[in-house]
């Protein structure tokens, strides 16, 4: 339970960190050379991250313990990968892929409207 609570907290934290990064000026700079498709993808992913953050945060931990347990490994890897991508911000595509990947796991835990 403690491990799962920790994982849950870490998931919410990385989702919050993602939004903080994507609303910051460094992200704007990183997106300078982005393609139109990347801008659209980034916009939709940012909104999905916010939705996931609000949905997870509005859900009682006790209600999703089983699903968290089922997805424990994937979620932990997704968090590490996304945190790494956010820390370096070297490639926009890598950040977007990491966000996409973690959202697909979060969607198995709480219902997200795609």
């Amino acid at each position: 339970m403690d491990d799962l609570a920790g994982l849950y907290i870490a998931t919410l934290k990385v989702l919050g960190d993602t939004l903080v990064t994507m609303t910051g000026s460094k992200w704007d700079a990183a997106m300078q050379d982005a393609t139109a498709q990347q801008f659209t993808d980034a916009a939709l992913l940012m909104l999905s991250v916010q939705e996931a953050r609000l949905t997870l945060a509005n859900t009682a931990l006790a209600d999703i313990l089983d699903k968290l347990k089922e997805n424990e490994d994937g979620l932990q890897k997704g968090i590490d990968r996304l945190q790494g991508a956010l820390d370096s911000l070297a490639k926009v595509e890598r950040v977007l892929n990491s966000i996409s990947s973690i959202l697909s796991i979060v969607a198995r835990i709480v219902p997200l409207v795609a």
């Binding site: 609570a5 849950y8 907290i9 919410l12 934290k13 919050g16 939004l19 903080v20 994507m22 609303t23 910051g24 000026s25 704007d28 801008f39 659209t40 980034a42 916009a43 939709l44 940012m46 909104l47 916010q50 939705e51 609000l54 949905t55 997870l56 945060a57 509005n58 859900t59 009682a60 931990l61 006790a62 409207v113």
Partner: protein
């Protein structure tokens, strides 16, 4: 220089007077604590309102940033989804506020009991208020706000030892429900601990956008810097720093809980009251500093 809000100033003076040189100093302490408890609930209520506003503002910042890259259909769809999630969030905040309001009612009953002639019927009133509080408690304990489940941060119980009192109704109340109220105050502390984390993230998102769009972009662009740029910059930086003190409400809740313990044990004095009032003031101070710009700006 910051000014102390008139309500707090008045409460502070009344409380200190009520504790000084009173015939029944011990009972006056309960009166003082009761008024401080009411002031705490009012101050924490403004913080909860601000937490709700910050959540909406940060969500709006995200929506507005994404909007230029979305089709009309996507905009409509996203707005609906985000509105629904925010309503859920605001509902939880409303329950926290309701919990505080019921504690305020309890503190008022406790204040009325601080009289050696207080009728026994006040005990039934206190029981009624407590029953209402207890109905809300499980939902709030199980809630997750921001990045933590509330239950994970509820502090351990402190023992409530009741020293003998002339007001027997009050003494009985403290013996019957003192430990239960201590747990409700611990729940308040936990709620504000997680709300603090949440409000920090929401403010970071909102302030990031403001900083990029209203401070950085206008400054580095080739155009003239807009009027009010320096003021906006000052506001963004000051609010960013203020948001780091978001734990003020949790600190005040902690102080209130420990004061309740001291009060029951006859260890509550002017110093404890002053410290409690300072913490209540810091909630109001923080809320004032992190308030968003007035609507329409």
């Amino acid at each position: 220089m910051r000014t102390v809000p008139p309500l707090v100033r008045m409460v502070t003076i009344l409380l200190l007077l009520s504790l000084a040189g009173c015939v029944s100093a011990r009972l006056a302490q309960f009166s003082g604590f009761s008024q401080a408890g009411v002031a705490y609930v009012k101050a924490s209520g403004t913080f909860i309102d601000e937490a709700g506003s910050a959540a909406i503002r940060s969500d709006s910042a995200v929506l507005l940033q994404a909007r230029p890259n979305l089709s009309k259909e996507q905009r409509s769809d996203q707005l609906d989804k985000h509105n629904a999630r925010l309503k859920d969030r605001l509902l939880i905040l409303r329950k926290i506020k309701r919990h505080g309001k019921l504690l305020q009612d309890y503190f008022e009953v406790l204040g009325s009991m601080a009289d050696s002639k207080a009728p026994e019927s006040l005990g039934a009133a206190a029981q009624g208020v407590y029953d209402s509080i207890a109905k809300l408690t499980p939902t709030l304990k199980n809630a997750t706000i921001g990045s933590s489940p509330v239950s994970a941060v509820i502090p351990s119980a402190v023992p409530i030892v009741v020293a003998s009192l002339k007001a027997k109704t009050l003494e009985k109340e403290l013996r019957d429900r003192g430990p239960l109220i201590e747990r409700e105050l611990a729940l308040q502390e936990a709620l504000f601990t997680v709300l603090a984390q949440e409000i920090k993230t929401d403010l970071s998102i909102e302030l990031n956008r403001r900083e990029a769009e209203e401070v950085i972009n206008p400054f580095i662009s080739g155009s003239e810097v807009p009027n009010g740029w320096a003021t906006t910059r000052e506001d963004v930086l000051n609010t960013t720093v203020a948001s780091e003190s978001a734990e003020a409400a949790a600190q005040a809740a902690n102080e209130l809980r420990l004061s309740f313990q001291k009060l029951a044990a006859n260890q509550f004095d002017n110093n404890a009251l002053s410290s409690l009032i300072a913490d209540i003031n810091s909630i109001l101070d923080l809320t004032e500093k992190i308030k968003g710009p007035p609507p329409g700006e």
